[in-house]
Amino acid sequence: MIEFELNGEAVRTDDDPNTPLLWVIRDTFKLKGSKYGCGAGLCGACTMHVDGVASRTCTLPVAAVANRRVTTIEGLGTPQDLHPLQAAWHEHSVPQCGYCQSGQIMSAAALLASNPTPSEAEIDAAMSGNICRCGCYPRIKKAIQSVGDTSLAYNAAAGREVNS
């Protein structure tokens, strides 16, 4: 039995400890926002936050998150109260097919949490693990840049630490 925190709630699973976290989230907890793209840590579609760090969960055994904090796209904002990045994704109408976008947003959110006003090079570095097959990169970049100082406000409101 593995216990961890999922989007703010204490949860437990008796899935095989070697099961990648992605499949525990998708099939056991039925949260479908995190995607399967490659299963090999190459595309970022499965990105979640583990203790605030953007992690590729298709290769991360669920045992590794025991007693840790897991946040998925469903826990980033709520439909009524979007995370600034989710709102920016809206504003810039980033998605084409949209399949990669939860992973993109999770990577971007981890970046902004530690660096609220990243340079273009910092965006490139933080986002290069996330493939968008549809080529939404120009809008992804714009959306992240547009959030800028809003993310400070969000982090403050959420009572999180901002290491800027």
């Binding site: 990648p20 926002g33 994704w89 976008q101 493939i131 968008c132 990169y137 809008r139």
Partner: protein
């Protein structure tokens, strides 16, 4: 903000009853392909009794595309959404003629139903084929709403106007919302579609604006929209293991060991089933081993234990290295089949001032759509229900019926959103596989391919080779053109999809003397449509070779391209699906101008220019490129000039062009599927690289919104990119790249 993406609407497909005196039927309107659910049978006196006070709680149907309730206006989006943005663009067309406020509109992904006509996303056809019928659907609903209001106010409908989901009677200063009018509008007679006055372009309020994707909210909050996300009670999860070489059969498999694994429910061998001959986009069911489990991971994990002995007697032995060697040999001469001939080609080459000969090649590529293939199926009482991310649900149902010997009426296909399509999901092999698995189970089952399955069992874009020759006269004019295409055939006669050429491809129509031939090599591994089939490769060969010719003639490439186009005219008079030389020249000029053609660029930067016409889209692109000493190609900026007529959704259209440009560069840079002994050697994104954000160019998009009917934009912006970059590499370095991916020619 109003949510536009409530997932379902009760009664969206079945016609909603209003009251007992009213009977409803679904009727087809000949010719237009528009099928409207129609309300008939009420006299005006009766219908006037249905007062606006009866605001509908359930959506009331005005026609197949438009339903209205107290909550707002529901517009059905008939075609599968694969990332091309039709779930926003198509409802916008309805909303425009309806005069609905977009903020009142909820987009509903339509069920698969004959009244929505052919529900296929492919060929960039959604916009052009739906343009008129959707405008009529919007206008017809508007007409009925106006009629209902006029009846209630006892005024002439001609005195009423509409705006923002309201019918307004200005003389008496009265207005009613569509939501208030829905009940009474539904019992108005359906107008003659041909008699409806559609808006003039100058009257558009919504079309041409920037509108965000209808499902953005669900997408950014992680809602379960895609085929792979489908949830239902009692669901089983399957994986299907096929021979790495197409056509292999199962000789033996350790099924008992697999069945004993934790989480595994069943494991069995499925034999190959071949489709009856004919049938568009119908596919065989490949032999394999199905593993059914209680969750996806248990199924995937069980593959490690599975041991299959394959019978490869009839399996593919395709070899890319052998095909390349053969093509290089063949390229010296003409092809063994004539394709087209005009003028005096021999004479043109004999009398030429200069002649040039070049060999271009490009590899097989995979679709690599982000969402791996999957489908869910449930067989109950001889009826089969399927949920699939598909571009062609109706063809899928046909495929399944054909192969499993079922009546197509017993098959329901729900087309769920696709995480990318690019042509891959026009072919429904996962649907056929899951149907075969589901009929052996008494629970619903979702089949998910691994990424490795996806790369090993694609319907690939075919590789190919062009041996090109050009002749220039003393004025540097192109007077002769030869192309020997070396491509592939599955059946010994017909080229694979995208493996053909004809005399209409630029510069064919503009060269007085032309000779086209082909040689088709046998190839067993299946090929299929890949974003802008044929154009995505021919553009590279033709448009780069044209640049070689203009350079050899010592001419400015822009001027050379414009000269080729000549006077503005349709290549086929009256056929708006043919190339128009004036539209072509317009985009070529605009792309060059906006990119700064002829101006000084930063040190080491150079521009390459290319044009391509496909899917009725006229598109020119200019790439600004530099190449570093280690031969890394930096595409700094791409300027695209696009004429696809009036733009429906400016935001979506721009996204498509930017995405096509990035896809074009991604593919030309490093993508190749290498076949040896019938096996694809690349297996995942480590060996099959997709472009990542640091390498993505800026893309400036300029639309020429001409008055021609609007055409699609999912594909035509891709083909010009590769030659634009190839030409820019030459301009920057003096080195000509004649091979895609360029990584195989030493670039990175």
């Amino acid at each position: 903000m109003k949510r536009k993406d409530q997932p379902t609407v009760a009664g969206a497909v079945t016609v909603t009853k209003i009251d007992r005196r009213t009977f409803l039927r679904v009727t087809g309107v000949a010719g237009g392909g528009l099928m409207l659910g129609v309300t008939v049978g009420c006299s005006p006196e009766e219908s006037a009794k249905v007062r606006s006070a009866d605001v509908a709680a359930e959506p009331i149907e005005l026609n197949a595309y438009v339903q209205i309730s107290a909550d707002g206006i529901f517009i059905q989006s008939p075609n599968p959404e694969i990332g091309q943005g039709v779930d926003t663009a198509l409802p916008m067309i309805v909303a425009e003629e309806l005069d609905a406020a977009w903020s009142d509109v909820t987009v509903v992904q339509a069920e698969t139903h004959p009244r929505f006509d052919r529900q296929m996303s492919g060929g960039s056809r959604s916009i052009p084929s739906r343009w008129l019928p959707l405008r009529q659907a919007g206008a017809a609903a508007r007409h009925m709403l106006v009629a209902a209001a006029a009846l209630q106010w006892e005024v002439d409908p001609a005195e009423c106007e509409t705006r923002d989901s309201m019918v307004i009677h200005a003389p008496s200063n009265r207005s009613l919302s569509y939501m208030e009018l829905a009940n009474s509008a539904a019992v108005q007679p359906l107008p003659e579609l041909d008699g409806l006055k559609l808006k003039d372009r100058s009257e558009f309020r919504l079309l041409g604006k920037r509108v965000g994707g209808a499902k953005n909210h669900t997408l950014v909050t992680g809602g379960a929209l895609f085929g792979i996300d489908h949830r239902m009670p009692d669901l089983l999860y399957a994986t299907y293991v096929k021979c790495p070489a197409v056509g292999g059969r199962v000789k033996a498999a350790n099924l008992e060991a697999v069945k004993a694994l934790p989480g595994v429910v069943d494991a069995f061998v499925q034999d190959e089933i071949k489709p009856p001959p004919g049938g568009f986009l119908t596919v065989p069911l490949a032999a394999g081993v199905a593993i059914v489990a209680e969750d996806t991971w248990s199924a995937f994990r069980a593959r490690r234990v599975l041991d299959v002995e394959w019978d490869e007697a009839d399996a593919a032995k395709d070899s890319w290295s052998a095909a390349r060697a053969q093509a290089q040999e063949l390229s010296a001469g003409a092809g063994n089949e004539a394709v087209a001939d005009k003028g005096d080609v021999e004479g043109a080459f004999d009398n030429a001032d200069k002649t040039l000969k070049s060999f271009y090649e490009y590899a097989f590529v995979s679709h690599a759509q982000m969402e791996p293939q999957n489908s869910t199926a449930w067989m109950r009482d001889g009826k089969l229900e399927i949920w699939s991310p598909t571009q062609a649900p109706q063809f899928g149902a046909d495929s399944v019926a054909n192969l499993l010997d079922m009546d197509v009426a017993d098959i329901t296909v729900h087309a769920l959103r696709s995480g990318g399509g690019f042509g891959r999901r026009a072919i429904n092999d996962p649907m056929v596989e899951v149907a075969a698995i589901a009929r052996r189970l008494n629970r619903p089952v979702k089949l998910t391919w691994t990424r490795e399955d996806d790369m090993a069992h694609d319907y690939y874009r075919a590789g190919g080779f062009h041996s090109l020759e050009g002749a220039l006269d003393g004025d540097g004019k192109l007077v002769g053109w030869r192309n020997h295409l070396i491509s592939f055939t599955h059946d010994g006669t017909n080229p694979v999809i995208g493996g053909n050429i004809d005399a209409n491809i630029d510069p064919g129509p503009f060269v007085p003397n032309l000779n086209l031939t082909q040689t088709l090599l046998p190839w067993q591994t299946p090929c299929g449509p890949w974003r802008a089939p044929r154009s995505n490769v021919v553009a590279f060969a033709h448009q780069c070779f044209l640049h070689e010719l203009s350079h050899a003639a010592g001419r400015d490439h822009l001027e050379f391209m414009l000269e080729l186009m000549g006077e503005p005219q349709w290549l086929e008079e009256g056929n708006s699906w043919s190339l128009h030389t004036g539209r072509a020249a317009g985009v070529i000029r605009l792309a060059a101008e906006k990119a700064g053609w002829g101006k000084t660029l930063p040190e080491g930067h150079a521009l390459g220019l290319a044009f391509y016409f496909s899917h009725a889209g006229h598109i020119a692109e200019a790439a600004e490129v530099s190449v570093s000493d280690d031969r890394t190609v930096h595409v700094h900026r791409v300027t695209a000039a696009v004429d696809v007529g009036p733009i429906v959704n400016l935001s979506g259209a721009e996204n498509q062009v930017q995405g096509s440009v990035i896809d074009g560069f991604s593919t030309m840079l490093g993508q190749q599927v290498t076949f040896e002994n019938g096996r694809a050697l690349e297996t995942n994104f480590d060996t099959y690289p997709l472009l990542r954000i640091p390498r993505a160019p800026d893309v400036d998009v300029h639309f020429i919104q001409s008055d021609f009917p609007p055409t699609g934009l999912g594909e035509p912006a891709l083909p010009p990119l590769a030659p634009a970059v190839g030409n820019a590499i030459f301009a920057a370095t003096g080195e000509r790249v004649r091979r895609m991916p360029i990584a195989k020619a030493g670039y990175s």
